[in-house]
């Protein structure tokens, strides 16, 4: 017998209280004068003795009560011997890792063979289940004692490109144990990759009913080279300005030279040798990518000749397109804004847009619908036709950037929107030389990547009532500087100052170029979709307007990834294979999505045995399988707290009953 909280036994000193009350205090009897003793007799002494005896019973009850309360708080326990028979009815779970790393050196086949040998050793009536896991867990068979479906399920496990997630496996095991309410004997067949362990070890905690038996397929660190990452533009507007940067990584390797090849549409573009240091990285830069117009399949591959060839190439999708046109509207004679805006766009290195300029007078015959976005740079009144066309353009998904200056103040509203113009805010009138940007909403796409606006001086800004618009930037006096209003499917960005280096010095600062570039990409909708993702990622297939229209998806093998019903209804698709997915949307736009395996799988370093041992111990609190297998009794602490508390309860009742009887006499005497 032991105690979980032995320091509570110190509470036993409280036993002194009833001792004092009953034994010590009692002896101090003071003589009381009484008028006459003629009606009292000697024989009442026996009555007193009887009464004292009853008090002694009460004393004993109280002493025992206090002692038991102290004992209960100390939480006594005894070691109970549990026989392995307690695990009767257990289910054998065969969990086989089919992640990418299991493709190396036939590891998956080896795991399957080992699992089958366990199935062959199952006793009649002993039930088992087969699981395959990578980043997700697949239940390959139902719980059965029939060997045939179990063997069939093991055979059906295919290698995948997913990454290992032991945390996901443990979550599934916990839910299986809870659902079946039976003990699980889990045989884990995996290469026990270190990179598959969750960040928080607590995620590996097993239920008490789960006994884990890991079978490491290959516990030795294996050298492996992989193309870790490729940085390539998603869209190419000018082949001469295209640059591709590849990173080659080696794990558990010696220093070696690898040949890196850039390929486009299965055609070799360029090859380079690179020296990969021991357990290090090397980068390779390709400065030309002669991509034809349309979607292209890019690939960087290395000749690694290692155990895991699946990570020797990295796919990327690149689309060659013509630059889009953007309309820049300004007042006649005021071209300073155009100068700064155009130069900033060109300086960004992306020739995604070509600026078409127009004065306010020329806009009457221009349709904004053919432009990727429109910029109104400090314009006065627009022709109603053009303004209506602008509103319609925005509602249909177009982008509009409005810069407000002294010309715009005359308007009651911001052109193209319903935002109300309240007046002009001059910094000098407020006894300030200039205003600065005091608040920046860094989540806004226009300032997401560069928000160093601290040094920019704003001398004048137009005060606009923001209404429902999102305020992305505010000046120090609270005047909104950048507002984003959604109108229909499009957006209107209102910059309440100008781009002409008169009302502010923003165009002279470094943050102007990324602002213009990001704003152009945001309004021109160049950020909509991702084309380079990892295995296991999801992509949206349709928006709310495209309900019911079929979306065709061809997987890397060239087969349809969706059934006809799924093609018409599915909202998302998960990319399960490495390679190129060709998504054909109902709008006629095709997307080439490059899917790569998670490069965590390239690190074949196994988990240290100590970590595995710790993992096993999370289930039993002692070495896994200690006792159990050998038929020995496993000691388990059995808490006596409840029994002691029940005794305390019974004693409390007895004490109350007896105490009340004594108290009744006292009350009458009172």
């Amino acid at each position: 017998m032991g105690f979980l909280a032995p320091w509570f036994l110190g509470g036993m000193v409280a036993v002194g209280l009833p001792v004092w009350l009953h034994l010590l205090r009692k002896h101090r009897t003071t003589p009381t004068p009484f008028s006459s003793l003629m009606f009292f007799e000697r024989r009442e002494q026996s009555s007193i003795k009887h009464r004292r005896l009853r008090y002694l019973v009460l004393f004993a009850l109280r002493t025992l009560l206090i002692a038991l309360i102290a004992l209960a708080f100390a939480q006594p326990y005894i070691q109970q011997k549990l026989l392995p028979l307690a695990r009767s009815g257990q289910i054998t779970v065969l969990a086989i890792d089919n992640s990418l790393s299991m493709r190396a050196d036939g590891r998956l086949d080896q795991a399957k063979r080992m699992a089958k040998s366990v199935i062959g050793g199952l006793r009649p009536g002993e039930r088992a289940e087969v699981l395959a896991f990578g980043s997700r867990v697949q239940v390959m068979s139902e719980i059965t004692d029939d060997h045939s479906p179990l063997n069939g399920a093991v055979d059906a496990i295919e290698p995948s490109d997913a990454r290992t997630s032991y945390g996901e496996l443990v979550r599934s095991l916990r839910s299986i144990a809870q659902a079946t309410k039976q003990p699980l004997d889990v045989h884990l067949y995996s290469d026990m990759q270190q990179s598959g362990m969750p960040a928080n070890f607590n995620d590996l905690r097993l239920n008490a009913a789960v006994k884990l038996e890991p079978h490491a397929i290959d516990s030795k660190p294996v050298a492996n080279f992989a193309v870790e990452n490729v940085v390539a533009p998603r869209r190419v507007y000018d082949n001469k300005k295209t640059r591709v940067l590849a990173t080659i990584v080696g794990t558990n390797n010696q220093k070696a030279v690898r040949r890196v090849t850039l390929m486009l549409n299965q055609r070799e573009i360029e090859s380079k040798n690179v020296e990969v240091p021991e357990n290090g990285r090397a980068t390779v830069e390709f400065l030309s990518l002669e991509a034809p117009f349309g979607a292209n399949r890019g690939e960087v591959r290395i000749d690694s000749a290692d155990a895991l060839p699946n990570d020797d190439h990295f796919f990327f999708s690149v689309e060659r397109v013509e630059p889009s046109h953007a309309l820049f509207v300004h007042e006649t004679g005021n071209t300073r804004g155009l100068l700064y805006f155009q130069n900033a766009l060109q300086a960004s290195g992306q020739a995604a847009f070509v600026i078409d300029e127009a004065t306010v007078e020329q806009t009457a015959n221009i349709s904004p619908a053919k432009y990727a976005f429109v910029v109104l740079s400090d314009v006065g009144s627009l022709s109603p036709t053009f303004e209506n066309a602008l509103r319609s353009y925005v509602r249909n998904g177009g982008g509009l950037l409005v810069a407000l200056g002294h010309q715009s103040v005359a308007n009651a509203k911001v052109p193209g929107t319903d935002l109300r113009v309240e007046g002009t805010s001059y910094a000098s009138r407020e006894l300030e030389r200039f205003q600065a940007a005091a608040y920046l909403d860094t989540g806004h796409p226009s300032i997401q990547q560069d928000n160093r606006w601290g040094d920019v001086k704003f001398y004048q800004a137009v005060r606009v009532e923001p209404g429902q618009a999102r305020v992305a930037v505010r000046l120090t006096d609270g005047t909104p500087l950048l507002l984003d209003e959604q109108a229909g499917d499009g957006h209107v960005l209102v910059f309440t100052s100008t781009f002409d280096n008169v009302e502010n010095d923003f165009p002279l600062h470094a943050s102007f170029v990324p602002f213009v570039e990001q704003t152009a990409r945001y309004l021109g909708r160049l950020n909509d979709s991702q084309t380079n993702v990892l295995v296991g990622s999801f992509a949206e297939l349709r928006n709310s307007k495209e309900k019911g229209a079929a979306v065709d998806v061809l997987d890397p093998r060239g087969e349809r990834a969706l059934s006809l019903e799924e093609a018409a209804r599915a909202q998302n698709i998960q990319f399960t294979m490495a390679g190129f997915y060709d998504i054909r949307r109902p709008s006629g736009r095709n997307e080439m999505v490059a899917v790569n395996t998670d490069r965590h799988e390239s690190d074949l370093t196994p988990v240290p045995p100590e970590t595995i041992s710790l993992w096993q111990n999370t289930a039993q609190g002692g070495p896994a399988g200690a006792g159990g297998e050998n038929g020995e009794a496993a000691p388990k602490p059995l808490s006596l707290w409840w029994y002691v508390m029940l005794a305390v309860l019974a004693l409390a009742f007895a004490e109350s009953f007896l105490g009340n009887r004594h108290l009744a006499v006292d009350k009458e005497a009172a």
């Binding site: 004068p33 008028s35 006459s36 003793l37």
Partner: protein, 296 residues
């Protein structure tokens, strides 16, 4: 309302027995006015034929004018009685479980009785005794008698033990006229002995009232725990008593004692009255008036 002035506990806070007696009697009388059955003082009682030597002031001249006969108009208050109060001051009378001890209560009662007797123009006397006669004031209607009586009552101190036999022999010597004898005591003696001792007073034509003065704790003792009791009349005697014994057996014994004393006294023609020191004094006065009325 006025009954509250008869509460012994309240009276204990008043200093001076004369004031206590006045408070009690006035309160009691004022309370009586509500009842048509009681009355005393200068109420008309009877006409009596004039005899020689009678005071001419009491002749009803109206009757004489109508009938040519002399009649004296008599009032109740003018029927004189000799009253002798015997007050026990033995050690046991000093017992009290609350603010008023038995001796205090006895003093209140005695002084009230004397005061009332004085109002009635009765000749009141007092004997204070324990095992012997401690003080004796003969009955008289002289001026200042009430103050002598009250002074004697106030001076009374707890004495030794009670012995009825010795002082009662003396009482018989003091009593020359028939009258009312009031005995105030806790009667801690054998009822037979008490009655036999007091009985001769009755034989001489006296009305005898026994006021048995007991503390509530003596009538029904309630102890929280076993107690070591010491006899007040014999400090060498002590006894440890359990609450159960006091609650059942002692109660039974004291009840038997009271019952025996009551029945024996009544059978001997003595009036017996149990006075609980926690009860108001008017019960004692009422008893006195009953007897007093009966004598008229």
């Amino acid at each position: 309302m006025l009954q509250q002035f008869l509460d012994p506990a309240l009276l204990a806070s008043i200093s001076g027995l004369d004031l206590i007696a006045k408070t009690v009697v006035n309160g009691f009388v004022a309370g009586l006015h509500r009842s048509p059955d009681f009355g005393f003082s200068q109420e008309f009682a009877e006409y009596r034929a004039y005899n020689e030597g009678d005071d001419l002031r009491h002749v009803d001249w109206n009757v004489f004018a109508r009938t040519d006969r002399c009649y004296l108009k008599r009032y109740r208050g003018e029927t004189n009685t000799q009253i002798l109060v015997l007050m026990d001051t033995s050690a046991s009378m000093s017992y009290g479980s609350h603010t008023v001890h038995k001796l205090d209560f006895s003093k209140f009662l005695a002084s009230s009785l004397c005061y009332m007797a004085n109002l009635q123009r009765d000749a009141a006397g007092l004997i204070i005794f324990d095992e012997d006669v401690a003080n004796y004031i003969p009955p008289s209607t002289r001026q200042g008698q009430i103050f002598r009586l009250l002074h004697a009552i106030e001076k009374a101190e707890p004495g030794t033990r009670t012995d009825f036999a010795k002082p009662f022999i003396h009482f018989q010597n003091y009593l020359h006229r028939k009258g009312l004898v009031i005995v105030l005591s806790d009667f801690y003696a054998d009822p037979e002995t008490i009655v036999k001792t007091v009985e001769p007073l009755r034989f001489k034509g006296n009305e005898v009232i026994l006021f048995h003065i007991l503390d509530p704790q003596e009538i029904a003792p309630k102890f929280r725990e076993p107690m070591l009791l010491v006899d007040m009349e014999n400090p060498t005697a002590s006894l440890e008593v359990s609450p159960e014994y006091a609650r059942y057996e002692y109660k039974h014994k004291i009840d038997s004692h009271i019952e025996a004393l009551s029945s024996k006294a009544r059978s001997a023609g003595l009036d017996y009255f149990l006075m609980n020191t926690s009860r108001p004094l008017d019960e004692g006065l009422r008893e006195y008036l009953f007897i007093r009325q009966g004598r008229m």
